[in-house]
Symmetry: C3
Subunit: 159 residues, 3 copies
């Protein structure tokens, strides 16, 4: 666990503003697949000069989500199962109907599942480290793979 109370209650009049952006690429192998990108985000945070600030994560795709949870194979299977239960792939979605849609991927379920997980996540930096609780990991969810996917990381803070 990173130090979360390092600057509890303090106010920083900053030296300099830091903006750093990077795009992570994730290659998926399955139609639905969770990937833990925490270590890659931590590396970007450490490589930036930011001591305090925020980290914005943005999925560059409608059918690719970013969220936080524990990184455990069993739990990831449960997440996949929940998504499949909540959004039936084979329902007669209009997005999959050539009379109403020019999308030939038949991926309405992927759009809807990604919507429930979310496409943006904002984390914090304290003492130069990404702030994470004990079991917290940053996860991305492929929902219409396999494909090559991009996650944009932007740091906004002070050095």
């Amino acid at each position: 666990m990173n130090a979360t109370d390092a600057i509890r209650g303090t106010t920083s009049a900053a030296g300099g503003i830091v903006v750093r952006s990077e795009t992570l690429t994730v290659q998926t192998d399955q139609r639905i697949e969770l990937t833990d990108v925490t270590d890659r985000v931590i590396t970007i945070v450490r490589d930036s000069a930011a001591r305090e600030g925020i980290v914005s994560l943005w999925s560059m795709h409608t059918t690719f989500a970013v969220f936080m949870n524990e990184s455990q194979k069993a739990l990831h299977a449960d997440i996949k199962r929940l998504l499949e239960t909540m959004v039936d792939r084979d329902a007669d979605w209009m997005h999959n109907d050539p009379d109403h849609s020019d999308c030939d991927r038949l991926n309405a379920d992927a759009h809807l599942r990604a919507m429930l997980l979310g496409h943006s996540l904002t984390l914090q930096i304290s003492g130069g480290e990404l702030v994470l609780g004990q079991w917290q990991r940053v996860l991305v969810a492929e929902l219409d793979g396999p494909r090559s996917r991009s996650l944009r990381v932007q740091i906004l803070g002070v050095s």
Copy 2:
């Protein structure tokens, strides 16, 4: 698609900080209705002097959501259908029961559906442009209309 790799890996020691806020108004006609506000957000980003930074979107209402997805009429019908399936309007919600609630709108479903979509979204600015992937659009969801709704846009970045 906007350029997303324009400043991949670079660190900006900024000229000046930019904070710009604007409130968008959306007039809805239906009880549940999705509106694409992407172009209006892009205009605010371009009008600001921000070259790199973030864009915070905040729904000013409990029963009005903001999220990202494709802007396609068929998919929007699917989203509406999913929300109606996941949250039954006619269940005996306590929020709709005069014995427990002083709300006379009977809109428990709208509160619950908005909660699933979310009320805040954080996007990024790179090279002076809103960062969006190929099919990505910023959508707001009216869930208890028709009404006049507000979305607050705040840009925090560097020029």
Copy 3:
């Protein structure tokens, strides 16, 4: 309702950058329990020197969520009911199966329910005040209590 249009359309070239972080502690009494932390967030915003900016809220736990909605006892009962309906606690989740998981809390449902509510929320500051619509309150959701929980608040703005 706080003033939301105070600086509509204005651009601030800021005096100084403000970064302020604080960790709120919430003691819960039930397994599932919603707590309104709005007033505590408002106090942190006022105590900071930030006039314009954002407030990032981050749950420090996988099974503890943060989101926005109305603070009404009846609605909170409805939210709890919806979460219990959408994610069945007693399904045979792999996370609860000792053959696949070393977690002895049997809390797969708590992970999944928190995921649907979300762990990060980004709000705005305008004119030195937290921007909130008429019925909007900041809520945290305990999903595997009772426990002592932490919510990290980080303000990034200009004075």
